[in-house]
């Protein structure tokens, strides 16, 4: 016998967790952009740094905050943690990267 309401998720908890993840990713990727600008990285080196820091931050988040069980805290964790905020963070990173690059040059 199957129940219709066995797989219900709390939207309140979901938005709380998403906001926390977003705040961490925003602040760290903006600072990573500053560092990339100070280091005068160009082209693929800068984007490589973006992906390295993005992966590092997400792995720390999964290990520390989710205790290696992101499915307990996120619906579709691969999408929510890795994909959903990727271009938002990339835009922020490029913004501070170019700002620091031109200020330092």
């Amino acid at each position: 016998m199957s129940y219709r309401f066995t797989d219900l998720k709390s939207s309140k908890s979901g938005s709380f967790n998403n906001n926390k993840l977003l705040r961490i990713q925003d602040s760290t990727m903006l600072t990573a952009g500053l560092s990339a600008g100070i280091l005068q990285l160009q082209s693929f080196a800068g984007f490589g740094m973006f992906f390295a820091v993005y992966i590092l931050v997400n792995l720390i988040f999964i290990a520390w905050f989710c205790k290696f069980k992101p499915s307990l805290y996120f619906t579709n964790p691969v999408h929510k943690i890795w994909v959903k905020n990727l271009f938002r963070e990339l835009a922020g990173f490029v913004m501070t990267w170019t700002l620091a690059f031109t200020l330092v040059r």
């Binding site: 998720k9 720390i60 200020l103 040059r105």
Partner: protein, 136 residues
């Protein structure tokens, strides 16, 4: 935010600003060298400046994670107490998420249950009269 995370942020910003200023000064010197001798081979950014910028970033990332506090709840009705948990995030499963509401005596459907149409106004008036009677 704990003193530890504040100190991490402080060290991070000092390192990032200092490496930025150092990088700026280095590039000013390089510009002068090129102006004096256009054929001169320009050196790369010194390793200590690179290391300082990366260390600043690492300290900032650590500070960001440390500054996040574990979840705490204050019970709303009944005995007032702070309930500390070992979690940074809220569980997504509805049965677990609602169990927190049970622990803190929160009514997640209070927006509906406390609408005037749903409130037993006679019981409330009786309670209020009793309260007035006691306080007078």
């Amino acid at each position: 935010m704990s003193i530890l995370s504040k100190s991490f942020y402080f060290i991070a910003w000092i390192q990032i600003i200092h490496s930025g200023v150092s990088s700026y000064e280095f590039h000013q010197i390089v510009k002068h060298i090129i102006l004096e001798n256009p054929d001169a081979k320009t050196p790369g950014l010194p390793d200590d400046v690179k290391l300082e910028a990366l260390c600043g970033l690492l300290f900032f990332i650590l500070g960001t994670f440390i500054s996040q506090s574990k979840l705490k709840y204050l019970s709303i009705r009944g005995e007032e107490r702070i309930i500390e948990t070992d979690e940074y995030l809220k569980p997504i499963e509805l049965n677990k998420a609602s169990s927190t509401d049970v622990v803190i005596n929160n009514d997640p459907y209070g927006e509906i249950n406390y609408l005037p149409s749903f409130v037993d106004i006679h019981a409330k008036r009786k309670l209020f009269k009793e309260y007035l009677h006691r306080s007078l």
